[in-house]
Amino acid sequence: MNWDALIPLLVVLSSLLPGLIIFGLAEERVRTRIVLNLLGALSKVVLVGWMLWGVYHQHYYETRLVLLPGLELVLRAGPLALLFVTLSTGLWLVTTIYAIGYLEGSPHRSRFFGFFSLCVTATVGVAMAGNLITFLLFYELLTLSTYPLVVHRGTEEARRAGQTYLAYTLFGGALFLLGTVWLYTLTGTLEFTPRGFVSGAGEEHRPALVMIFALLIAGLGVKAALVPLHGWLPQAMVAPAPVSALLHAVAVVKAGAFGIVRVVYDVFGVEYATGLGVTDPLAWLAAFTIIYGSLRALFQDDLKRRLAFSTISQVSYIVLGVAIAGPIATIGGLVHLVHQGLMKITLFFCAGNLAETLGIHKISEMNGVGRRMPWTMAAFTVGAFGMIGAPPIAGFISKWYLGMGALDAGQGWVIIVLAGSSLLNAAYFLPILHAAWFREPPQSWPHEHEHNFGRKETAWALLLPPVVTSVLAVAAGLLALIPFSPLDWVKLIAQREFYQP
Amino acid sequence: MHDRVAIQTDHTRKQATPLLRILIALPVLAVAAGLAYIMLSFSPVAPGLSGQVTDQLAHSGVSNPVTAVLLNFRGYDTLLETVVLLLALLGVWALGGTELRDEVTPGPVLDSLSRLLLPMLILVAAYLLWVGAHAPGGAFQAGSVLAAAGVLLLLTGWRLHVNLAALPLRMILVAGPGAFVLMAVLTLLIEGHLLQYPAEHAGLLILILETAATFSIGFTLTGLFLGGIPRDRDIE
């Protein structure tokens, strides 16, 4: 029995199996469901920890199953894969706890947690995919398993949001499929390779390769919410808070961004892509998205929508870092994958707490809420400052490396984008903080009576997760230079996978 | 006679316009012309199976080549075909049959004539069945004549007795295909091939099959004419 070949599969199964069992559970079996959820999440954490240690010591884990003659389903845990796997696994654990608290007493939880587990399965599958077809498989699975979560509430509005979500993502998926098959007919392989595998296709295929690049990026750009493919994200905010938190801040959008990293580095190879002249337009698109998302965020009164536009803006930092095509900028982009995840999930958790505890959905209702819910708003503040890029929070590290990387690659204009974006971030986050901390609270909150937490701020399951993630966000910034910090790991990736000699 | 009225009133409904008729007629004519050309392009020397049939006729158990093809060389087709007939009846019965026809009481002439004709028809059927082995005739011809007798009976107001309408009737209806399937399985077990008759008994076995088929065909066709499950109307 070769355990190394089994572990990636086990990582996938550790959320798939609980998910499938949960589907079959009766609604009232709350305890069994909680046990299954936590068991799955914890076993995944253990497995991923095991792999982290192994990969750090130059050990690789790979599962292969034959899918089609000549095409295999490959799950491979390399450094880059593990970055995303670890992020999803860790945040899944936190979000599961949050979701248990958030959905307490609400209907259809078996369905919710079943699909929730499927989503995580799809996300780790996307992370560990060792070739494009495996990636495609999990990428589409992610689309399908998020749909029921978006329409979970069963309102007409939710249904419409779901249709919009699908219209975007399935269209993207079709483009991605076209690009993938086309590429396969040219190269005969889809296996992710350091420095890419398309260079063997021959000179005469260069125009086709540019088209394929565009198709793949368009397919991925939908989930990464690149403008103009971002329209689904704000609408999808109709979903319950844990969904917005994990999926639309971490799993789904990151799957798109992560895919772009894969395509640029492991399909085309960054040098070859630069040679094709496709990275610059990608960088411009990312920069535009950064500014556009921030500008739109400025004018949202709905808290979750503002966060959604902020996500659109922030995810493009990752794309920008990759597209600048220099080692330092890449480190900045990749590390932002983790940093943004930690910070944004904190913000969404807090938004969920406000909505669940006090019925606050709009920023204009947040006056003085810091006094009513100090812990929540403290976590929110950390997240917001991180987004702005204030040291020593994680977001600062990302922006620093992005800026340095841009200068290193001779793309000075990026600095302006970064500065502008930071200003805009400040412009849409600081008023919230000001209102929450320094304005007088109103006589009563919109829906406070619904839950009676007594003297507590809110349920512990709701409070703990944002506090933990905000602490992690600070830690990732403060301790960026110790081993196994996100930054350290990303440097390892850059060293081993992207810029190896 | 509800159905007849309905069929007549339908003439008043709109018909295809002349232009449409021409538009349809043209491609149909083209098809006809093409097929006519094909017909004339057949060479008068047929590459058919006449020769082989003649060669093997002696081993088939019968001397009428058509019967030999029908019951022996291509007996499997015939097996399936008896099932088709049974299936049609099943389909008709599944539809629950049609409206009751007016019950007629036959006049004395019709009554006595049909009494006279019936034995004749049965006799003719039996003859056709027997003669099929070496001359034109056979189960289908015989079955059709038998069905004619049945139709005559129905038209003169005769009905199957309720006690016979269930299992006994069904037994007869199944006899043909049932005998075929049974024969197929037995020959498979004994001779190794489906419907491979032992040469010395082929004639007899074919006659048995044809007899069973004749009864089934006769009754099935009659049943199709009746258009409903006999039991139902008797109970009502």
Partner: protein
């Protein structure tokens, strides 16, 4: 058990079963289920036999072609037999919950005869024998369609009967031409003898047109939606999953052995009609407000995909045919599951208006799941059998620069997603209740779900299934033929 004649059992068993059900209606359900199970086992036996000893051939009556009739099975036949057995088993289990006692006594004998006809058809190697099986199948299918006796069902059945009879006659005319032109009705011998004469072309024109009509290829699909939508749910499943595939199978067989090698050009017409079928069927499906009609139009579209393989196979050969076989297989399972799920919804809510589906996802989760999983395969999303087929077909299209076909396939997939999620979206929402919900037996929900799961699982079975398919090299033009 090397000598067990599994192929013959596949035909004789359901025939005998059907007759016994007719004689003693009371045992119908039990006997029918046992027969379905035995048929499934026999297919497995045949599969094992094929794998061990290669193609299966049986000379009926011991005469051998051309005088006698041969039975023949290769990988392609096996696949069709297997999907028939699977869908048959699923529908059989479903029908125990669906039909009242009396209805089930009418259903079983006809369905067993239909099963025998399908098996006989997939095992036939003789074009006249194929005609008889076609007719047996057609009449059984019409009888089943009209089983409810409602106005719509009668109209649908009538239209279907006329279409199927016309198709059969055209086919028979072709048989007449081929026999008189080339002196045999055995497919293998015809493959050797037929040359590019006008007679051969006229025969192909007639047979092809008849079979296309029976397969409901656009624009000859007019009879399909009313018939498939108005039949009882288990029957709709059988019709869409198996019956249209059977006539397609004959067309494919004839093409692979007799007509394909003659000339080039016709395959482009097939491809074009296939593309139009995809677009038209999908758009019509999207327009429907009734669930069963939507599913029926989806069948029209999915049939189009099968015909795309004809132009693509001209240069890529086996891989496009593999793709087509895979699409046929997964469509059979998925579409059967969909119709069964629709039957559950119809039973539950008393209607099949899509906009008025009322929180089905909570109230009939297994059914909603079955519909969704089947939908995944129909849309061609991974992981599912439909995805594998679509991937291979797309690959063939792009490799040959057939951009139009590739584009249509992608658009077809998106349209499919649009009409499937149109349904799924409404299963989450609340609607005005017009009808007291009726309990749906577990057997009905599980039958639908298991078939749908089968369609998804197919996504992981491509390699073993392709190696089975290649037994007998059915897909090499001019190769070994029945």
């Amino acid at each position: 058990m090397t000598g067990t004649p599994w192929g013959i059992i596949l035909i004789m068993l359901p025939l005998a079963g059907g007759m016994i059900c007719f004689l003693w209606p009371r045992v119908s359900t039990v006997l029918g289920l046992l027969t379905s199970l035995a048929v499934a086992v026999s297919v497995a036996g045949l599969g094992w036999q094929l794998q061990e000893y290669g193609v299966y051939r049986h000379a009926i009556g011991g005469w051998g072609a051309p005088l006698g009739i041969d039975l023949y099975a290769d990988g392609l036949s096996l696949l069709m037999l297997a999907v028939t057995a699977l869908v048959g088993l699923g529908v059989g289990i479903y029908s125990t919950g669906y039909f009242s006692c009396e209805d089930s006594q009418r259903f079983w004998p006809i369905w067993l005869f239909l099963l025998a006809a399908l098996n006989a058809l997939f095992l036939a190697a003789d074009i006249f024998n194929l005609y008889v099986t076609l007719e047996l199948m057609g009449l059984a299918a019409v009888a089943l369609t009209s089983l409810t006796g409602s106005k719509d069902a009668l109209r649908g059945a009538m239209r279907y009967l006329l279409a199927t009879l016309l198709g059969s006659l055209a086919y028979l005319f072709g048989v007449a031409l081929l026999y008189h032109g080339f002196g045999t009705v055995d497919i293998g011998m015809l493959a050797e003898r037929v040359e590019s004469y006008p007679i051969a072309w006229a025969a192909f024109g007639l047979m092809g047109a008849g079979l296309m009509l029976k397969t409901a290829l656009f624009p000859m699909h007019f009879w399909l939606p009313p018939a498939h939508a108005s039949a009882p749910a288990p029957v709709s499943a059988l019709l869409s999953a198996l019956v249209v595939k059977a006539s397609f199978y004959i067309l494919l067989r004839l093409w692979l052995t007799i007509f394909g090698p003659l000339n080039e050009g016709i395959e482009l017409l097939f491809g074009l009609l296939g593309m139009m079928a995809i677009l038209w069927g999908s758009l019509q499906a999207l327009r429907q407000t009734r669930l069963k009609l939507l599913i029926a139009y989806s069948t029209v579209a999915q049939i189009g995909y099968l015909f795309l393989a004809f132009p693509l196979a001209m240069t890529t050969g086996a891989s496009a045919w593999h793709a087509m076989a895979y699409l046929a297989l997964s469509h059979a399972l998925a579409k059967a599951a969909m119709f069964l799920a629709a039957g559950n919804l119809l039973r539950f809510g008393g209607h099949d208006r899509i906009a008025d589906l009322d929180r089905v996802v909570q109230r009939l989760p297994l059914t909603a799941g079955a519909f969704a999983l089947a939908g995944v395969s129909i849309m061609g999303l991974p992981p599912s059998g439909g995805f594998i087929g679509k991937w291979l077909l797309l690959e063939a299209a792009l490799a040959q620069g057939h951009w139009g076909i590739a584009a249509i396939m992608l658009v077809g997939g998106l349209l499919a997603a649009a009409y499937i999620f149109k349904v799924l979206g409404h299963t989450f929402t609340q609607a005005d209740i017009s009808h007291e919900p009726v309990a749906v037996p577990a057997s009905m929900e599980w039958a639908a779900l298991l078939l749908a799961m089968g369609a998804v699982l197919l996504g992981f079975l491509a390699s073993p299934i392709f190696s089975l398919l290649d037994i007998g090299n059915a897909f090499s033009l001019n190769g070994v033929s029945p």
